[in-house]
Symmetry: C2
Subunit: 331 residues, 2 copies
């Protein structure tokens, strides 16, 4: 469709013209954009939707929504070890508000620039009044060959389980913004820090690329560690996992919470966009070196077992089985 061309052009056109990815000979403005890949390279792609009131709060800043809508997609590329190439945006709005669109496009293009991932296709349409903002981003990335692609299904019994960064800050912010009274009082600085983590996830692109031939299975933690590690286990042939609570990297903003809440946010909470991956035991020294050189904390949190679900050895030395509950849409 050619229709909504002008709006995309107005807000993204000039900016995207300034950005360059040598793999994009034809950018936005025709019926299609064109992408070339180096010889032998494989294109990786993913799509995610973001809905107002479901995936972001209605009062979230437009700049942050622009950032996060691209960041969560880049995170999918990171989880597969891919390098970003370009992205496409579909934006459905109940009404056009210039300041909102200007801020949204600033947040979006700032991140796109950082990762050399120009916007090469866009469609902005009006939504029925009464509905909220809905936006979908499709990302394109590349790996040098299919064997370089990190996948969920390749975990093996005995692999170490690793996670990057720390967990639980985003879920704390969701819970706090949804119902502040349901939580122990948070000081303002902690609440702000948690909100920052919810709104500005950092896609782990460099880490994903570094893991290409070191990790066996990889996923990004979007729905919560329990749930996403569960995908790895299921797709790798119904394997199990033994985790050590002492090794789980709890986000510092969780430190004032009672242990049960801390566990809930870090293990079941979503939106962290860290990478959870498995790797052969012998790769630990190289992994520690990569974490160090990238400045990304890597925590070895457990080991893949032949079955039995996900067990956690708690700080008290108790073994508990983590139930398969997590954030689900449509519940």
């Amino acid at each position: 469709m050619a229709g909504e061309f002008d709006l995309i052009d107005r807000y993204f056109g000039l900016r995207s013209a300034q950005r360059v990815n040598p793999l994009v000979p034809v950018g936005i403005g025709d019926d299609c954009a064109a992408v070339t890949l180096p010889p032998g390279a494989v294109l990786l792609t993913s799509v995610d939707t973001f809905s107002e009131g479901v995936h972001f709060f209605s009062d979230a800043p437009a700049f942050a929504i622009g950032h996060k809508s691209l960041a969560v997609n880049l995170s999918d590329l990171a989880a597969c070890g891919a390098e970003p190439v370009a992205c496409l945006l579909a934006l459905s709005l109940p009404s056009v508000e210039d300041p909102w669109l200007a801020d949204f496009s600033s947040g979006f293009t700032r991140l796109a620039d950082l990762f050399s991932c120009p916007l090469i296709g866009g469609d902005t349409t009006s939504a029925r009044r009464g509905g909220g903002i809905t936006l979908s981003v499709t990302v394109l990335g590349q790996v040098p060959g299919v064997s370089s692609m990190l996948m969920r299904k390749n975990a093996q019994v005995g692999d170490d389980i690793w996670v990057s960064g720390d967990l639980g800050a985003a879920a704390l912010s969701v819970a706090f913004q949804s119902d502040p009274t349901a939580l122990p009082a948070l000081d303002a600085a902690t609440a702000d820090l948690a909100k920052q983590r919810l709104e500005y996830p950092e896609p782990r692109i460099a880490l994903g690329i570094s893991l290409r031939h070191l990790a066996r299975a990889c996923i990004d933690v979007s729905d919560g560690l329990r749930s996403d590690l569960g995908h790895i286990l299921k797709l790798s042939g119904n394997l199990g996992a033994q985790l050590q609570e002492s090794a789980i990297p709890y986000a510092s903003v969780l430190s004032s919470l009672p242990p049960a809440l801390r566990q809930r946010f870090a293990l079941y909470g979503g939106d962290d966009y860290e990478l959870c991956f498995t790797a052969p035991v012998e790769n630990e020294p190289q992994l520690r070196q990569i974490g160090h050189s990238l400045g990304v904390p890597l925590s070895k949190i457990g080991r893949i077992t032949s079955g039995g679900g996900i067990s956690l050895e708690t700080l008290d030395g108790e073994q508990i089985n983590l139930e398969g509950k997590a954030y689900e849409h449509f519940n």
Copy 2:
């Protein structure tokens, strides 16, 4: 995001497993899907959004919505001369209704199968209640090289202007469904036929591929001939066009309408998804042969001029200038 995986899997998983495109080594089910292209090939991509109450009537059949949401994207590939490779779907629903989803996925996958364009990425999310259904489709296609890509910007003075199929049936149906009393009475068969054309556009993939080295500029008629031809003219350096009304392929369902309405639907109405293209005069014999062998009517409707907007010589021999009005979102 891993979250909505199960819903996509339930409705599209089995079906897409049955479909094959040898260029897709990794389909739906991981953080990303993988696509390989033949050596030298260029990937073309486009995204379109579909909103309930804006792009389709709330009572449109789910099967038809599934068809059209992919068809309009395949039409963008057709306009660039591309062969379909794969597609991604983002679906945002106020509530999950199994029969709706089953019918939608049937319509979508039937067309995807027809064009060997498997679904390789999907995200189904809940929308805020009160809003409508929103869906975005991203298509991936390929051409053998950048020089094979048909673009809007390559029209030249003296080129013939061509259009495939016929025009105006979809716009008639939109007008009739929006306000039946505003039109002269239509018999039921005509109204049904027009609706069929609105709901089941046929992407002109084979034609687009055949035009690769015969057409100069090409676009699909999504917003109306006046508007889409206008894009070609503008991007080709502000050229003009001289059209002959006697050559415009009016859809047969328009035949009972007064001339002014017929003109309005065929020239300003959208949703036809025919191809409008320009070509050197000497390519006419080859073009006629292609139209004949594909069974696609091709009409030579005018000629590219050096400027002066779009003029139409009417059936009465009058010269009129077609104003730049057309269907616009947010008006």
